[in-house]
Symmetry: C2
Subunit: 160 residues, 2 copies
């Protein structure tokens, strides 16, 4: 590593730091509500789009489908989520929140929404918008070039 390019000045490093800082704060604020960050991530997506299949959520979160399945198992055991068979495709499991799950995710998202507000308040509207734009460009540039051609991954069960 060249000395003029210290580790800590790399965007890769700083991005990691920022992500960790936000994740850590999110986790800390979520704890009193009674939800772990991973469970929040899964549940908020199902709340936004009830009936999503496990595979579809996995794509949204960019995690392995087995991961979603494992989380769903736990949440189902805890009575926060339930699976129902897809009406026309028996092998597809649609995910729904229970009433209890709905209530919990509602409280949790209020907390996360507050964090989002704190962040934009911290940065100011201009920087926040700028950050949004630059990060979007980054994601586009990194994943855009190597993604499958067209319509791949979008199935009947993915209602996003």
């Amino acid at each position: 590593m060249r000395d003029g390019e210290a580790l800590q000045t790399r965007l890769i490093w700083i991005l990691r730091q920022a992500f960790q800082a936000v994740e850590s704060e999110k986790g800390a604020r979520l704890r009193p509500v009674g939800l772990r960050a991973a469970h929040y991530s899964l549940m908020i997506n199902i709340a936004q789009t009830p009936g999503l299949s496990g595979a579809a959520v996995a794509r949204r979160l960019s995690v392995a489908p087995q991961n979603v399945a494992a989380l769903a198992n736990r949440l189902e055991r805890e009575g926060l989520l339930e699976r129902r068979a897809h009406e026309r495709h028996a092998h597809v499991q649609e995910l729904y929140l229970t009433a209890e799950g709905e209530q919990l995710i509602s409280a949790a998202d209020e907390v996360v929404g507050a964090l989002e507000a704190d962040i934009t308040g911290l940065l100011g509207d201009e920087d926040a918008a700028h950050l949004r734009r630059i990060l979007t460009d980054l994601v586009e540039g990194l994943s855009g070039s190597k993604e499958p051609p067209i319509g791949t991954g979008a199935t009947t069960a993915d209602r996003s």
Copy 2:
């Protein structure tokens, strides 16, 4: 969640996406070299500051010291890293890379350095600098307010 504030427009969400995209790309480029991302992260820090203690690396990486210990165990087993007792503090384990480790991290960091260059090239110098500044502000704002007063965590073994 208010409809005007869709999940996907939140900075928290976009930051996660960006981090995951970069991590994924980093992992993909590291694989041919023969290093996992977690091992790279640990080794690059030891390469930069040989003799760092496990606790010190953990602080730098913002991970639990047990995590560093587990990774170090594996890397030691693989002959990429070695521990030596601190000269004056017998219970402190200093971490050093072996010759093989040095060589491997060198090849790995060339790959990661190339990714860093690709990213800045993708964004352009102006946006890259801007992103660096905004993310730094974010980290400052989030963690700065709740950090212990002074000199905490900096011990003899931490030569950063």
